[in-house]
């Protein structure tokens, strides 16, 4: 998947300080980053490093206290109102009173698509994530992995070019996670979307990404950005190749360096 030249996300000198009861928390410090169209970019770091907060800033769910950020050339708020991105949360968060197809239709209904188009898009995106035949089932009838796939379908349904994913597979077992990683790569190759992916798993980050952003906590900042030399075509056993292990080692080193002063 060739990475284009158009910048989807531009971040310059971004800071975010949370005012809490006892002391201000510096969640993000001096972040500079450019995400290009078609990038699959992972944010990795220990908990508290601000990776989720950063994703939420892109999504206009948190407001930065300093610096600039543009999404598709406009402010995150304008981008959000233009429905520029689909967001996948750590939990599937499907509505229990809606069927699987009903859940995928939810954003479409809000955005005012016609009934026929809602049905057509729901069917199409559910097929994309391999959930055809489950349209009429309710969330509790599906496994955790299938629920998360449904939530990805929900984020894809309205064809946003940008997909923001916050540890979407964090709560799943290793086997389902491998399976979903493979499917996600295939999906990314098929749709050519730009993906921002938060994780704390090194193999997951290396396996999926074209670029890996290593972050460190207190204050949350970027300590390394690694361009992956891995080919676009990635079978699961690429994780045993020397190139893969080399990148993984570099990520681990970065994470350790970020942590060393802490002990």
């Amino acid at each position: 998947m060739p990475v284009g030249d158009r910048a989807v996300i531009e971040v310059r000198g971004l800071n975010l300080v949370f005012q809490t009861a006892d002391a201000p928390v510096h969640a993000l410090k001096d972040i500079d980053l450019t995400v290009k169209a078609g990038d699959f970019i992972s944010f990795i770091g220990p908990s508290g490093c601000g990776k989720t907060t950063f994703l939420r800033v892109i999504a206009d769910l948190e407001q930065p206290t300093a610096g600039t950020i543009t999404v598709n050339g406009v402010s995150p708020r304008q981008a959000r109102l233009k429905r520029a991105y689909g967001y996948v949360f750590q939990a599937a968060g499907l509505y229990p009173w809606r069927s699987i197809a009903g859940n995928v239709r939810l954003p479409l209904e809000i955005m005012g698509y016609s009934r026929a188009e809602c049905d057509e898009r729901a069917a199409r995106t559910l097929e994309l994530v391999g959930l055809s035949g489950f349209e009429g089932k309710f969330p509790w009838q599906l496994s955790g992995g299938m629920q998360q796939r449904a939530s990805i379908a929900r984020a894809l349904a309205f064809d946003a070019d940008l997909l923001l994913m916050d540890e979407p597979f964090g709560a799943l077992d290793e086997i389902s996670r491998d399976h979903l990683n493979e499917q996600l790569l295939a999906l990314w190759a098929k749709t050519g979307k730009t993906v921002c992916f938060v994780t704390h798993s090194i193999p997951e980050a290396v396996y999926l990404s074209t670029r890996i952003v290593v972050m460190s906590p207190r204050p949350g900042r970027v300590i390394d950005v690694i361009d992956s030399p891995l080919p676009a075509e990635r079978p699961l056993d690429i994780r045993e190749s020397p190139e893969f292990l080399e990148i993984a080692a570099r990520v681990r080193e970065g994470l350790r360096a970020g942590h060393s002063y802490d002990d």
């Binding site: 959000r80 949360f89 968060g93 509505y95 229990p96 009173w97 209904e109 955005m111």
Partner: protein
């Protein structure tokens, strides 16, 4: 089935035994008094038999109440002023109207309170305060005031019912409408959903289980409101009127049968709401 029926039957039997015992003990002094005045001796067996057959007992025996209920429901035409069904319907109609008004009012107030901080601060204290006033004190005021503006009959009673029933609905619905977690609200934000859309697509469906729970409390409170509302209206008709007339004339059997009718009515209303709850949740796909 039998394992469950046995404890239930035991409890009912125990209540009946205690009730009969109470009837004998409480009604005995009057029987002894009567016997003494007549200068006659009364045997214990006769005494016990008499305590269960008085026309105005302190505590009527269960079978006396049962016979009275049978006589005033099945054996009376329902248009008769002495029919319990007739009085029950009068009370039921204002209960249902009051319940409907109270529920709608409760939902609207809760929607306002959830969406507007100023409304929460200004309305919620009054909602709570309204429930600290004894309904018995305010019911006659409502009847008198409404009568002065030309409203009488069903509506004033229904408003007293509504006064009692809106409260659990407000409290339950505020809880229900705010029950969606941060993730679900964030999801709505990422879609750029308006507050109205978030209300219809998320808050309202999330609050349905809460609505039914509070409606169960509200419907029982409504019935109490309707009965209390019948007391200051001159005891014309309704279960409340039967209770009041019964106490004027010392008709304890009539009082007890009206009480049982009210309890049965309340139980069936609560059961109906429970049934509606099950059907709605199943149709929403939330019941497993």
């Amino acid at each position: 089935m039998i394992a469950r029926a046995l404890p239930v039957a035991t409890v009912i039997a125990a209540i009946l035994v205690l009730w009969y015992l109470g009837a004998v003990i409480l009604n005995a002094p009057w029987e002894r008094d009567q016997a003494q005045r007549a200068g006659a001796e009364i045997s214990t067996a006769q005494l016990i038999a008499n305590t269960m057959a008085q026309t105005r007992p302190v505590l009527p025996a269960p079978h006396q109440v049962a016979v009275e209920i049978w006589n005033t429901t099945v054996l009376k035409k329902i248009t008769s002023k002495r029919s319990l069904v007739f009085h029950g319907w009068i009370t039921l109609s204002s209960t249902l109207l009051g319940f409907a008004i109270g529920t709608v009012m409760g939902i609207l107030l809760a929607v306002g309170i959830v969406h507007d901080r100023a409304m929460e601060m200004s309305v919620m204290p009054w909602v709570v305060a309204s429930q600290t006033i004894p309904i018995l004190a305010i019911a006659p005021m409502i009847i008198v005031v409404l009568n002065a503006v030309g409203l009488s009959g069903l509506l004033p009673k229904a408003l007293i019912s509504a006064y009692l029933s809106f409260f659990p609905v407000v409290v339950g619905m505020v809880k229900g409408l705010t029950s969606p977690d941060a993730l679900q609200l964030d999801l709505m934000r990422t879609y750029g959903a308006s507050r109205r859309q978030a209300l219809w697509k998320l808050r309202w469906p999330s609050s349905v289980p809460y609505l039914f729970t509070s409606m169960k409390v509200a419907v029982a409170a409504s019935l109490v409101g309707a009965i209390v509302g019948e007391l200051p209206t001159g005891a014309v008709a309704g279960l409340g009127a039967r209770l009041l007339a019964g106490s004027y004339y010392g008709q304890t059997i009539q009082i007890w049968s009206a009480l049982f009718a009210a309890a049965a009515l309340a139980a069936s209303l609560v059961a109906l709401v429970g049934l509606a709850n099950r059907i709605v949740l199943r149709r929403m796909g939330m019941a497993r």
